[in-house]
Symmetry: D2
Subunit: 354 residues, 4 copies
Amino acid sequence: MAGNTFGNFFKLTTFGESHGEAIGGIIDGCPSGIPLDLEAIEAEMSRRKPGQSSIVTSRKEPDTIRFLSGIFEGKTTGTPIGFIIENTNQKSKDYSHIKDTYRPSHADYTYDKKYGVRDYRGGGRSSARETASRVAAGAIAKQFLKGITCNAFVSSVGEIFIDKPYQDLDFSKIEDTPVRCPDLDTAEKMISRIKEIKKDGDTIGGTVTCVIKNVPVGLGEPVFDKLHAQLGKAMLSINAVKGFEFGSGFCGAKMKGSEHNDQFNADGTTKTNLSGGIQGGISNGMDIYFRVAFKPVATIMKIQKTIDSQGNMLEMQGRGRHDPCVVPRAVPIVEAMASLVIADFMLANRLTKA
Amino acid sequence: MAGNTFGNFFKLTTFGESHGEAIGGIIDGCPSGIPLDLEAIEAEMSRRKPGQSSIVTSRKEPDTIRFLSGIFEGKTTGTPIGFIIENTNQKSKDYSHIKDTYRPSHADYTYDKKYGVRDYRGGGRSSARETASRVAAGAIAKQFLKGITCNAFVSSVGEIFIDKPYQDLDFSKIEDTPVRCPDLDTAEKMISRIKEIKKDGDTIGGTVTCVIKNVPVGLGEPVFDKLHAQLGKAMLSINAVKGFEFGSGFCGAKMKGSEHNDQFNADGTTKTNLSGGIQGGISNGMDIYFRVAFKPVATIMKIQKTIDSQGNMLEMQGRGRHDPCVVPRAVPIVEAMASLVIADFMLANRLTKA
Amino acid sequence: MAGNTFGNFFKLTTFGESHGEAIGGIIDGCPSGIPLDLEAIEAEMSRRKPGQSSIVTSRKEPDTIRFLSGIFEGKTTGTPIGFIIENTNQKSKDYSHIKDTYRPSHADYTYDKKYGVRDYRGGGRSSARETASRVAAGAIAKQFLKGITCNAFVSSVGEIFIDKPYQDLDFSKIEDTPVRCPDLDTAEKMISRIKEIKKDGDTIGGTVTCVIKNVPVGLGEPVFDKLHAQLGKAMLSINAVKGFEFGSGFCGAKMKGSEHNDQFNADGTTKTNLSGGIQGGISNGMDIYFRVAFKPVATIMKIQKTIDSQGNMLEMQGRGRHDPCVVPRAVPIVEAMASLVIADFMLANRLTKA
Amino acid sequence: MAGNTFGNFFKLTTFGESHGEAIGGIIDGCPSGIPLDLEAIEAEMSRRKPGQSSIVTSRKEPDTIRFLSGIFEGKTTGTPIGFIIENTNQKSKDYSHIKDTYRPSHADYTYDKKYGVRDYRGGGRSSARETASRVAAGAIAKQFLKGITCNAFVSSVGEIFIDKPYQDLDFSKIEDTPVRCPDLDTAEKMISRIKEIKKDGDTIGGTVTCVIKNVPVGLGEPVFDKLHAQLGKAMLSINAVKGFEFGSGFCGAKMKGSEHNDQFNADGTTKTNLSGGIQGGISNGMDIYFRVAFKPVATIMKIQKTIDSQGNMLEMQGRGRHDPCVVPRAVPIVEAMASLVIADFMLANRLTKA
């Protein structure tokens, strides 16, 4: 369990460093007979990739997926789907200055201590480039989940946030702005804020909210593998994530039971949905929604003090092309991971009854 | 992967319903040669068990653990540790009135839909009684983790919260009050609030904060099994939990990189610790700290409208002996799950280098 | 993966030493809604238990199973089935003489070296007593597999073997003799041979053959988890097993392709069945059959030289009540493990198609 | 657990069909800091690949491995090792005649029934081409296992077998002949036999014996994951395998305890080694040896009757370039799988003691 596999039934195993030859993965457990729309997969990849707009990194990576197995005549065959994404734009020299340097709040120090060695050309395995494999696999999971929709969007950037319940938002507007906030007034403010931050050589955090609709009743396993526990793990495994809450979340901790309980309608739906579509770890058929907190990107263009591997203090300044705010590009990653979790539980649920 | 096992190396599998014959579990993977202090295990059990004080349920459960295997002459043998806790105080009749009724914001409806059958005597497998097995296993993990300390405490009840950083708290005072808040002034307010809520037949939520000290550098696996992702899953698997954040958490999402980055000292420690002791999913040797949100208990003594399994609307009122606020008893459960996660990664880490 | 769990979907985890308080296990993944015939389970337990006849050990163990969870109103609930079997007849003193002694061809030496400690009262975890938990779980798997029949029988004892294909045997006669050989003439010879061996203070090996009928086409996973690979692992995990072959087995290695290939009938069945019901690791609907080799029991009543834990040479003689030949009691264990494998793949197969 | 992963700690997941774009895999769990000799890996690949001699298939596949990650500056980094092997010599048209035909004793029928679809160009996932990925991973495992030697050789072809204990063989001669039998007189007879069989358009089975030396005491997990149970599963997962035996094997089933028990020397070694280096599922430091039975290759050049997917009877004749006897090329595959098993348990063993 070296930590590079996600899922129990619809399983993704990934490999690859940011500056190695290629990244990629194997999806094992995808059922046979699913027609795959390869263009839709490429479209998801494009949402994640760098260089899309002025508020994200200007780095260019084509991120073309090459599927090597498990697909025949346009359909999945039930055998493992192997895929690779070549690293064509490695620019290793951008990173040579940090060979012996531990960047503050990066994984340089911890990887070096853990493994006794690290690929110092970029973040190696801890680079967000690894998430490209997740988006590829998540795009296949989405196609398996036909009918279940999974929409993530940026709900805050720094102190700027959407001041409306998600029910009042039009998800078709998520892609209308590069910041992926469907509330267009708020989106404008967010974009201005990110540009300001970027000009300042700084970075800023934010949150992504995700809403999953049409999930059947009964997904999730009791006790340790509760539906929201797996969703939480999935989200917390994304780079830069610091927190996860679903349904009423941290606000729920301030409430009384008489306010918080969701009263039933006769058909088993509930009048309110503070449960966030999950009761006792199992989906109840209502919308599942959750919120994910991302810290500001650690690479800033300002001068910082830090240490090298011998413990010498030195000054460094971020170089290269980095995101001033990670949340717009995190949106498709959140959707990918959520789709993988739901696909996994859809399969798990086939095992429940005699 | 039916969801009743936690951990990859120090593995706990649990069984048991609240009103069955017994609950229990198997710990598989605990190394041989660990001297076990059985009294310390019982002491942990006592912290979780009901009937401890006037602010928790008055239900009495002796919660005596019977170890059946894996321990010989006071030490672990490396073989699986089987244990059971008899259900001596079942009082099934307390629950007969809910046989066909789905209690609002409980797992009754979702279990019934998922499995097509449920043990209607109490919460069955979704009852918090299951957590007794976790506390037993966590107590053994704690003994394996000699030197690493794991302290949880109640950091808020409803709107009342500790307004100090954890560094200013004296953890030796956690057990001084039944509410398990080490800030004694705040503890008093919390206790008053819980009593008020109880008198009103209502319940209230709260948060638990946990601090783990002396964790070696290097724990956690990259990518999917990041240290905080497993901690998050562990916490979200506890009944009534709605959210998890570590280090800067949701506040971090509002910050700038220049504020958020933790500057290194020459020895690899950091001047600040917004990272929460984890960078890139791997421990960096600083304190690990996180916060867990618990919703108010769903069973209230007020009359509520609900439905039965035929979809008939009816009124119900909670009976029996329930907790007005779950967080004081959740403290040892949070510690148990955190200890299991750390124990698991301590073993995993033995596999890292050649 | 400390090796005490079997199966991926219908999972059994066992615990318990021969001379501890109890043995038992947890079945996790058994679907809900299966009516359980508890008497049928006890009947399987009786087939395995010692003291059944003059050709097996005279040790008495009641082997009563106590189910603790996962069953409600006569049916499985889908939650884990916990069970224990108390060790009521421990007679620890029988073993005190071997506290520091390594019995030849037992696991004493290897356990001691591996763990640095062992429960020297009997075989501890390596005792065949552990298989009682397997039989209990296998009996539940059998009930899940309604319609699929799994019959094992003794096919040889020492040099005496059944000289007929299994198709010519009447499985209803398996239980007619204590040796569990359905060919009654051969059974007589086997019984005489075992009595002779017993009188001599010696032991003897043998083989068990198992035939599984009515397995649907399509069970087994490609590549590593082939149906026969899991069956082989299951059998090789039983105490004293030295070999496994299925279909043509080792004889197949002497054959030519033109002799060995199974020609199809128009309906997909095959005229011959040298494949043993499995092609490419996947069941083809024909009978699955395999043969398992058991070595002679290592505990003999003759004087043997051996060593103690300090490397001193000494003489020892088996005491207590041991089986002169293990195969008659191995029959229900082989069936139990085979049933667990088939149950596991029946569940796995639900995941195959879209 | 879709069956494409082997191992619990040193884990290999493979993908790829014989006529897809590429095959490959991910090794997850290989420790950091192992210097890798890439030429030694290529040498192992050459031993398995087709076209080596006149007694194996004349098909040419360059089998060049491309490592994509997990290796930096000549050493493993502890992150997953991704690799691919392009399928450059696909010749799909060779197989068009079998699109709707089920070849006798192949996996065509069972795959089609299981998945409802199959890549009919060659054996797809059930092709022995998949084993190239195993050899690649096994070659890395071998380098991790420095000092432990693992030698397999052909011990029989049809009725011709080596009539000597393995101790009398000179393993340095294994590669002296294309049949990989170190007893050169027997090797000559085997080669003649295979040539005769090939001329006749037929195929023949055989056995491979494997000897592992210098295994430390203590490898193997009790109960289900016994060392020989995992070795058996590993071998039975190789294409065309019908049986596995270790130590005394099936012969042991004919013996008496007084003959079979291995007497100890004072240093814990044993005078005889009928145990095959494993007692109670755990290595005892003596040589581990086992034997694997391979059936004759199912593709023969003779005319056979068979059916198509509509159940029509038809005649077919093998075409293309196939092995008349699979065992010579199976030798490196047996070694690879054995090395993966031992590597896995070497890691597992790090978890045993406190």
